[in-house]
C-alpha cells in the first residue's frame, strides 16, 4: 500500500484525534474566561436561576394538581354506583393500595359512606364550601393535597374528598418503604435545600439567602409556602468546573480511542503471538488506568452501581472500588483472557514448531501460573462475599435483588476469564509438542497430574490457603476440563467460550458457596462484638442526640402550640434521631412544666420507672445519665426542656435501653423497626444462640439455646486461653459452630459465645443452584447472541435428531418434576396461610372471652377499660373497634401518631357490618409492609364491637415456611433435574451417535468410499442396521472387485482381440513381401534389388503402422480424462474431513477460508480420501489436512500419527502394484502420483517415522495441459 493510500485509510481517525485534541485545548483555554464571566455576571445569573426554579417548581405543582383533579373526576363517576354494592374487587380510586391516593365519601349529615386509604380529613361542614379548590391537609407525619367534589347519589347528595399524599416526613427502615416527598423531589431536582410549609407561612422565605414563593389553589389563593436556598456563586463555579471536567474527560477518552484505532491494524502485523499478547495486555492496562484516572464511566452514573458499600475491594488502588469499576476491570481482563485462550488454542492445534525444550519450559510456566491464578481467583471470590453488603444467600428467594443479579454477571465474567486464562496456559505448550495424538494425550495427562500435585503442595505450603481440598479439587477439575476440551475437541472458539462460561459458573458458584460458609463464621465474630458494642457511652450519646432532635423539631413546637399530636412529635423525634437505627428500646415522653404526662411514643416499652427517673433530671438544659441496670441491660436516660420564646413550656424525657436478652428477637413490628441486621446480616438472627458465661456460671442467654454446665465450662476455658476460640459443640443432638470471645463487662472478664447451627446439605445444594441459576440467565443471553450471529448453523442443529431427542428427554423427565414441585409449593403455601389464620383466630377467641368476662355493660368507656386491662394482663397486642372506629389498641400511640389508621378498613367494614359476616381475614399494608389481620365480631353485651388481632406485633411462625420449602425444592429438585439433564444428554448421545455414524457412512459410500466403517454393532435395531450396512458395504466391495475383475478380463480380451486384429493387418503384407523376396532370391531374379527395396519399404511402413497402433493403445490405457477448473483446495479439504466425521480417525483441517488453484476437484478429493484412508488403515487416530497457498503453488500436506512408512520403501510406495497391505492392489498411491503428474505437480513423503507420516502434494497454481 502506498503512503498516500495509507494516509487516506487513516484520515478519518486522524481527523477525529485532531478534533478531540483541539476540543480539549479549547476547553482548557476557555475555562478561566468562562469562570470569570460567571463571577462578573453572578447577580443576574443567580436571579435568573432562582426565577427558573420558581417557574419549574410551580409547573410541577400544577401538574400534581391536574393529576389529582383527574383522579377526583374518576372517583366522582364511580362513587355514584360502586360503593358497598360493588363486587369485592370493583376498581376504586386507589386500586394500587400503595397509600398514595385516598378518599372519603360522606353524606350530607357527615356519615362516612365509603373510604379508602389513610386520608386524614374528617367531615366538616366547611368542606362543602370549598367548591372545586384544592388545599393541603397538613398533619405532623404527612401532608396531603386534597380536593372536594359534590356528588349526587341515588337518593341523596354527598361530599367526596380525594387526596394525594404529598409529603411523608418520616422514614421507615424496611426495604419496601417508599419515600414520598415533594420537598425532596424539588431539592433533588434543583440541587438545593428546600423547605415547604403546607397551609402556612415560612420564616425562611424572609431570609436574604433564601428565596420564597407560594403554591396557589385554583383561585390563586396561597395554600403553601416554598423556600429554597438561592444558588451560591461557589456552588455555581464548582458546577461549571465539574461540567468542564466532564467534557475534558470525554474528549481525552475520545482522543485516546482515536489514537488507539490508528494502531489496530498494526496489531495484526505484529509477528509472534507472545509479542501480540504483550502489546494487547499493555494496551488494555493503559486503557484501564486511563479510564480510572478519568473516572469514566463512574462520573456520569449515580446509585448502587458506583456505591462502594455494595462492593468495594482494596485490590488495585481503586480498580475494584465500586461495582461499576469492578465491571470495567473485569470486562477488560475478560477481553485479554478470551484473546489469549483463542491464541493458545490455535497455536496448540497448528503444531508447526515442535520443540521439546520450549514445551517443557511452557509446561513448567503453566504449572506455576495456574495455581497462582486460581488462588487469585479464590481471593477475588472471597472479596466478592466479604467486601460487599449484598447478601446472596440470606433470603430464600431465588432472585430477590436485581442488583445482586448484576453482580453475579460480573463474577461470572471473572470466572470465565480465569478459566480461559488458566486453560490457555495449559494448552499453549502443546504448540511445541510433536503432532501425534497418543503422545499429546500422554503429555496432557502428565501435566494434569503434575499440576494436581503442585496445586496440593502450593496450598499446603501456605499459611492461609483460602480453599479446602474439596473446593481446590473442583477448581482444578474445571481448569483441566476446559484445557482438555480445547485441546482434544475441535470446535470454534465461541463454542469453547460458552463451555468455559459454564465451567466458570461452576467454579464461581462453588467458591461463593464455600466463602459464604466462611462469611457465616466471620459473622459470628461480628455478632459477638456487636453484643458488646452497645456500651453505656454510646447509649448516652444517642440519648443526647435524641434530646437535641426533640429540641429543634418543628413537630415538638407544633405539639406544644396545638396541645395535640404529642405521639406524632415523639415518633418523629425517634425516627429522625440516630437511635432509631440501633436495636434499642426507646421511650420519648412529653410533660407539661409541672411534670404531667402529655403523650409520648415508645419502641420496645422500657419500664415506666426508667421514664420517671428521666423526668427527675429535668432542668434548664439537656441532661443525660447512665443507669445501673441488670447484667444484660445498658440504660441511658435524660431530659431536656421544651422552650418557646425562651420560656419553658414543658419537658421531654428520653430513655434508651439495650437489653441483650431481647437483642435477637424484639417485639417491635417489622414495618416500624425491621430485625436488627447489623448484628448479623449474613444469617437469620433467629438461628443464632448467644450466651455469656463466667466460668461454669451462665450470666445471660439470648435466644433459645440452653448451654449445659460442661458446654459453659468448655467455652469459658477455650476463650480464656487466647482471648477467643472456635468450637464445634452439640446442643440437643444438633451440631453448632460456636465462637467464644473473652470480653470485659463492667470491669469483669466474661466470655460471650455465639452459636450457629451447622447447615444442612439441602442448603448447600440450594445455594449452589441459586448462583448457578443466576448465571444461567447470562449464559442464556450469551447463547442467544451466539445464535443470533450464527442462526443458520443453529437452525441446522435444532433440526438434528440428537437435539430433538434431548429436548424430548428433558421435557418428559423434568416437566413432571416441575409440576410436582409447583403443586407441593402451592400446598405448603396454602397450609401456612391456614395455620396463620387459625393461630390468629385462637388469639381473637381468647381475647374476646377474656374481655367479655366481668363486662358489666356495652358502654364504650367500660369496654375500653376492660380491653386495656386484658391487654396489660395478657401482654397480647390487639385492638377493639366500635363500629368502624378504633376504640382501643395496645399499639394506640402508632394510631394516634397517624402511622396506623384509626378507622376500620373499607373491605372489613363491608364484610362485617354490611354483609353480616362474623369474622374477616385480610392482608393489611403499612407503608409497603404487609401483615395479616383477623377480625371477629365480639359479643360484648350485644354492642357493635370487633376484636382485631394481627401478626405484625406478635408474629406467627409456621413450622415449615414456603421459604424453607423453596430451599428443599431447589436444593433437591434442582439436583435431580441436573442429574436428569446429564443422563438425558448421555442417552441422547448414545442413541444418536450410531445414527450419525451411519449417516456419514452412507455419505461416504455415495462418494464411492466403500472402506468406510459404520461403527461397532451395539445390539438392537440400530445394531442390526449397522450390521446390515457393514454387510452391504462388504457385498458392494466384493461386487465392485468382481465387476472390476470381470471388466479387466473383458478389457484384456477385447484388447487382445483388437491388438491381434490390428497387429495382424500389417503382419500379413509384411509376411507376403518377405515370402516374395525369399522366392525372388531363390530364383535369382534380376529384379532382386528393386524387390528388396520395395519389401524394405513395405516393412518400414508396416512397422510404422505397428508403432502407431502401440501409441494408440498407450493413449487408451491412460487415467480418466482430466476435467480441470478453478477450484477451492480448502473447501475440498473440508469436504474430505467431513466424510470422516464419524470414523475413528479424527480429521482436522488447517486452511485459510479459501485457496484457489487449478485442478480436477473430483480427483483431488479422491487423492485426499485415499491418503486419509491409508492413514486410518495404518492405525492413525488423527490426521490433519493442511492447505497453504504460496505465490506460485499450492501445498497440501496430509499428516497422520500412524506407524509411518519404512525408510527402504519410501520411494516404492508410488509404484503401481506395490502394496504393504494384505488386501491392497497397490494402485491408490500410484493413481495419485499419476494424477499429480497430469496436473504438473507431484506427490512425495515429506517426513515419516514413528511419529507418523506427512505426505506433500504440490500443485502449480497454473499449468498447461493437453485437454
Amino acid at each position: 500500500m502506498s503512503a498516500s493510500s495509507k494516509l487516506r485509510a487513516v484520515a478519518p481517525r486522524l481527523a477525529g484525534l485532531v478534533v478531540a485534541l483541539l476540543g480539549l485545548a479549547a476547553l482548557e483555554l476557555s475555562a478561566p474566561a468562562r469562570l470569570d464571566d460567571l463571577k462578573d455576571s453572578w447577580r443576574e445569573e443567580r436571579d435568573r436561576r432562582s426565577e427558573e426554579i420558581v417557574r419549574e417548581a410551580t409547573e410541577l405543582f400544577e401538574r400534581e394538581k391536574e393529576a389529582l383533579a383527574e383522579v377526583a373526576a374518576l372517583a366522582r363517576r364511580r362513587a355514584v354506583g360502586d360503593r358497598f354494592d360493588a363486587p369485592p374487587n370493583a376498581p376504586l380510586v386507589n386500586d394500587r393500595d400503595d397509600g398514595v391516593y385516598g378518599y372519603r365519601l360522606f353524606d350530607d349529615a357527615g356519615d362516612a359512606l365509603d373510604w379508602r386509604g389513610n386520608l386524614p380529613v374528617a367531615f366538616d361542614s366547611t368542606l362543602r364550601g370549598r367548591g372545586e379548590r384544592c388545599f393541603f391537609a397538613d398533619e405532623p407525619l404527612e401532608a396531603w393535597l386534597v380536593v372536594v367534589r359534590r356528588v349526587e347519589l341515588a337518593e341523596e347528595s354527598g361530599v367526596l374528598v380525594v387526596g394525594k399524599l404529598f409529603e411523608r416526613r418520616y422514614r421507615l427502615r424496611h426495604e419496601k418503604f417508599e419515600r414520598i416527598s415533594f420537598r425532596e423531589a424539588l431539592a433533588e431536582r434543583f440541587e438545593t435545600d428546600v423547605e415547604i410549609e403546607y397551609g402556612g407561612d415560612l420564616e425562611r422565605a424572609r431570609d436574604g439567602r433564601w428565596r420564597g414563593f407560594r403554591l396557589r389553589d385554583e383561585r390563586g389563593d396561597p395554600i403553601a409556602t416554598v423556600a429554597f436556598a438561592k444558588p451560591t456563586r461557589d456552588e455555581a463555579l464548582a458546577d461549571r468546573r465539574e461540567v468542564a471536567n466532564d467534557w475534558g474527560a470525554i474528549l481525552t477518552f475520545l482522543a485516546a480511542l482515536f489514537a488507539l484505532s490508528l494502531f489496530v491494524e498494526e496489531f495484526a502485523r505484529i509477528r509472534g503471538r507472545l509479542a501480540q499478547f504483550a502489546v494487547l495486555a499493555a494496551a488494555l492496562a493503559a486503557a484501564r488506568l486511563l479510564l480510572l484516572k478519568l473516572e469514566i464511566p463512574s462520573r456520569f452514573i449515580d446509585g448502587p452501581l458506583v456505591d462502594p458499600k455494595y462492593f468495594s475491594s482494596a485490590f488495585g488502588e481503586g480498580l475494584a472500588k465500586s461495582p461499576l469499576e469492578t465491571l470495567v476491570s473485569v470486562g477488560l481482563f475478560l477481553v485479554l483472557a478470551l484473546w489469549t485462550f483463542h491464541a493458545a488454542k490455535s497455536f496448540a492445534l497448528e503444531r508447526r514448531n515442535p520443540n521439546r525444550a520450549l514445551f517443557f519450559v511452557a509446561a513448567a510456566f503453566a504449572l506455576v501460573f495456574v495455581p497462582v491464578g486460581l488462588r487469585g481467583f479464590a481471593a477475588a471470590m472471597k472479596s466478592a462475599l466479604f467486601d460487599s453488603s449484598v447478601r446472596y444467600f440470606r433470603e430464600p428467594e431465588l432472585f430477590s435483588d436485581p442488583f445482586a443479579l448484576a453482580l453475579h454477571g460480573v463474577f461470572l465474567a471473572l470466572g470465565l476469564a480465569t478459566v480461559s486464562f488458566a486453560s490457555a496456559a495449559l494448552v499453549a505448550p502443546f504448540g511445541w509438542l510433536p503432532d501425534r495424538a497418543s503422545r499429546r494425550r500422554r503429555a496432557f495427562g502428565a501435566i494434569a497430574a503434575a499440576l494436581a500435585l503442585y496445586w496440593l503442595v502450593y496450598l499446603w505450603w501456605q499459611d492461609h490457603p483460602l480453599l479446602t481440598p474439596e473446593v481446590a479439587a473442583l477448581a482444578f477439575v474445571v481448569v483441566v476440563a476446559a484445557a482438555g476440551l480445547a485441546l482434544f475437541y475441535r470446535s470454534k472458539t465461541p463454542a469453547h467460550a460458552l463451555v468455559n462460561t459454564a465451567l466458570g459458573s461452576i467454579a464461581v458458584a462453588a467458591m461463593m458457596n464455600f466463602f459464604h460458609s466462611s462469611l457465616e463464621r466471620e459473622s459470628l465474630v461480628r455478632t459477638a462484638h456487636e453484643v458488646n458494642r452497645h456500651t453505656g457511652p454510646l447509649l448516652e450519646y444517642l440519648a443526647r442526640e435524641t434530646l437535641t432532635e426533640i429540641e429543634t423539631s418543628s413537630a415538638t413546637r407544633r405539639a406544644y402550640e396545638t396541645g395535640e399530636s404529642y405521639e406524632a412529635a415523639a415518633f418523629l423525634a425517634w425516627n429522625r434521631a440516630p437511635v432509631s437505627d440501633e436495636p434499642f428500646d426507646v421511650a420519648i415522653t412529653f410533660y407539661d412544666p409541672e411534670g404531667e404526662r402529655l403523650g409520648g411514643f415508645d419502641v420496645g416499652a422500657p419500664e415506666d420507672s426508667l421514664v420517671e427517673n428521666a423526668l427527675r433530671l429535668r432542668a434548664d438544659a439537656p441532661t443525660t445519665r447512665l443507669a445501673e441496670g441488670a447484667d444484660a441491660r445498658e440504660i441511658a436516660y435524660g431530659a431536656a426542656p421544651v422552650k418557646r420564646a425562651d420560656s419553658i413550656v414543658g419537658y421531654a424525657a428520653v430513655v434508651v435501653q439495650f437489653d441483650r436478652e431481647r437483642f435477637v428477637k424484639r417485639d417491635v413490628p417489622e414495618f416500624l423497626a425491621p430485625p436488627y441486621r447489623f448484628a448479623n446480616d449474613v444469617v437469620n438472627l433467629e438461628n443464632l444462640g448467644v450466651f455469656v458465661v463466667r466460668g461454669a456460671e451462665l450470666v445471660e442467654t439470648v435466644g433459645e439455646l440452653a448451654p449445659s454446665i460442661e458446654i459453659r465450662r468448655a467455652v469459658s476455658d477455650a476463650a480464656r486461653e487466647k482471648g477467643e476460640a472456635w468450637l464445634a459443640l452439640e446442643f440437643n443432638r444438633e451440631r453448632y459452630i460456636v465462637y467464644a470471645l473473652e470480653i470485659l463487662r463492667k470491669g469483669e472478664r466474661v466470655v460471650a459465645a455465639v452459636a450457629l447451627k451447622e447447615r444442612e446439605l439441602a442448603w448447600s445444594f440450594f445455594n449452589f443452584f441459586k448462583i448457578f441459576l443466576a448465571h444461567a440467565a447470562f449464559i442464556l443471553l450469551f447463547a442467544v447472541v451466539a445464535v443470533a450471529v450464527r442462526w443458520r448453523a443453529t437452525l441446522e442443529a435444532t433440526a438434528r435428531f440428537r437435539t430433538r431427542l434431548l429436548v424430548a428427554f428433558v421435557v418428559v423427565s423434568v416437566a413432571p418434576l416441575v409440576a410436582l414441585a409447583a403443586f407441593n409449593r402451592a400446598n405448603v403455601s396454602e397450609k401456612n396461610a391456614k395455620f396463620i389464620r387459625n393461630a390468629l383466630e385462637d388469639r381473637a377467641v381468647f381475647l374476646e372471652s377474656d374481655v367479655a368476662k366481668k363486662l358489666t355493660s356495652a358502654d364504650s368507656v367500660v369496654v375500653r377499660d376492660r380491653a386495656e386491662y386484658v391487654a396489660k394482663a395478657t401482654g397480647m397486642p390487639y385492638a377493639v373497634y366500635r363500629d368502624d372506629e378504633l376504640l382501643f389498641a395496645s399499639y394506640e400511640a402508632l394510631a394516634r401518631a397517624g402511622l396506623l389508621p384509626e378507622r376500620l378498613s373499607r373491605d372489613a367494614y363491608r364484610a362485617l357490618w354490611k354483609e353480616g359476616l362474623t369474622e374477616y381475614f385480610e392482608t393489611v399494608t403499612i407503608d409497603g409492609k404487609a401483615f395479616n389481620q383477623y377480625y371477629k365480631r365480639a359479643a360484648f353485651k350485644g354492642g357493635p364491637y370487633l376484636v382485631a388481632v394481627n401478626d405484625a406485633f406478635d408474629p406467627v411462625r409456621a413450622t415449615f415456611t414456603t421459604g424453607d420449602f423453596d430451599v428443599f425444592l431447589f436444593g433437591v429438585y434442582s439436583f435431580a433435574a441436573a442429574l436428569i439433564l446429564v443422563v438425558s444428554v448421555g442417552l441422547a448421545e448414545s442413541i444418536s451417535r450410531p445414527i450419525d455414524r451411519l449417516t456419514a457412512a452412507a455419505r461416504s459410500i455415495a462418494h464411492g468410499d466403500l472402506a468406510v466403517d459404520p461403527g461397532k454393532p451395539t445390539g438392537g435395531e440400530i445394531g442390526e442396521l449397522i450390521e446390515g450396512v457393514r454387510y452391504m458395504t462388504g457385498e458392494l466391495r466384493r461386487n465392485q472387485e468382481d465387476i472390476a475383475a470381470l471388466e479387466r478380463e473383458a478389457a484384456w480380451k477385447e484388447m487382445a482381440r483388437q491388438v491381434a486384429h490390428e497387429i495382424k493387418n500389417p503382419l500379413t503384407p509384411m509376411k507376403l513381401n518377405v515370402q516374395h523376396l525369399q522366392s525372388s532370391a531363390a530364383k535369382g531374379s534380376p529384379k532382386l534389388p528393386s524387390i528388396i527395396e520395395r519389401t524394405c519399404e513395405t516393412l518400414l511402413n508396416q512397422i510404422e503402422t505397428l508403432n502407431r497402433i502401440a501409441s494408440e493403445f498407450s493413449q487408451f490405457a491412460r487415467m480418466p480424462s482430466l476435467k480441470t477448473e478453478r477450484m477451492d483446495a480448502a473447501a475440498a479439504a473440508r469436504e474430505v474431513a467431513a466424510l470422516f466425521e464419524s470414523e475413528r480417525i479424527n480429521v482436522g483441517v488447517e486452511a485459510p477460508e479459501r485457496v484457489e488453484m487449478e485442478g480436477d476437484p473430483s480427483q483431488t478429493k479422491r487423492a485426499l480420501v485415499n491418503l486419509v484412508r491409508n492413514a486410518a488403515q495404518a492405525e492413525a487416530t488423527r490426521a490433519t489436512i493442511r492447505v497453504e497457498g504460496k505465490d506460485d503453488r499450492v501445498e497440501i500436506r496430509v499428516a497422520d500419527d500412524g506407524g509411518g512408512v519404512p525408510e527402504d520403501l519410501r520411494e516404492r510406495v508410488f509404484q503401481a502394484g506395490f502394496t504393504t497391505k494384505r488386501e491392497g492392489m497397490g494402485i491408490g498411491l500410484s493413481m495419485i502420483a499419476r494424477y499429480m503428474e497430469s496436473v504438473g505437480g507431484s506427490i512425495s513423503i515429506e517426513k515419516t517415522g514413528a511419529e507418523g507420516t506427512i505426505f506433500l502434494l504440490f500443485f502449480p497454481k497454473r499449468f498447461d495441459v493437453a485437454r
Binding site: E191, T192, D193, A229, T232, R233, D234, E235, A238, P308, K309, S312, S313, A314, F315, G318, K321, S322, S383, F386, D387, S388, S389, E522, V525, R526, H529, E530, R533, T535, P537, L538, Y541, E545, T548, P578, D581, R677, F678, D681, L744
Partner: protein, 155 residues
Amino acid sequence: MTGMRNISGRIAKTTRRVGLLAIFLAATALAQGARSNLQEGNGPPVEPAFARVEEGLANGDADRLSPLLGSQTYLSLFDGSQGYYSSGQAFYLLQDFFRVNRPVSFKFVNKHDGDAPYATGEYQYETRGRRNVARVYAAFKRDGSSWKLSQLSIQ
C-alpha cells in the same frame, strides 16, 4: 616495645568500647522489656488514635484513617451509609463522603480512654457551598498492640 604498648592500649580501648556498648544494649533491652511489660499491663496509648481520627476528619483524609479501619468497622454516616464494612469498603465510603461533604473543621470535644475508649466531637462541613454541622461519635477497640476504630458515626 612501643608497638606492644600501642597494641595493648588499643585492646584496652576496644574492650572499653565493647563494654560500654554492652551496657548500652543491656540498658536498652531492659528499658524495652520494662516498656513491654508496661504496655502489656496498661495497653497501648489511645491518644495517637484519637489524634489520627481528628486529623483524618479535619482534613477529609481517608488515607489517614485507613490504618485504623479493621476488617469490620461500623460506620454510620448521614449520607445513608450504615453498617459494618470491610476496610476497603470503609475507606472508599469515607473517601466519597469527604469528597461530597468537605470538612471545614473538626475537633473532639470529649475524649474518654479506658478499656473501651470513645470520643465525641462536631464535624463542620460544606456541601454544595452550604455549611452544616454533624455530630461525631468514634469508639475504639484493641487489636493486638494497636487500636482500631470499632465505630464511627457522623450524624
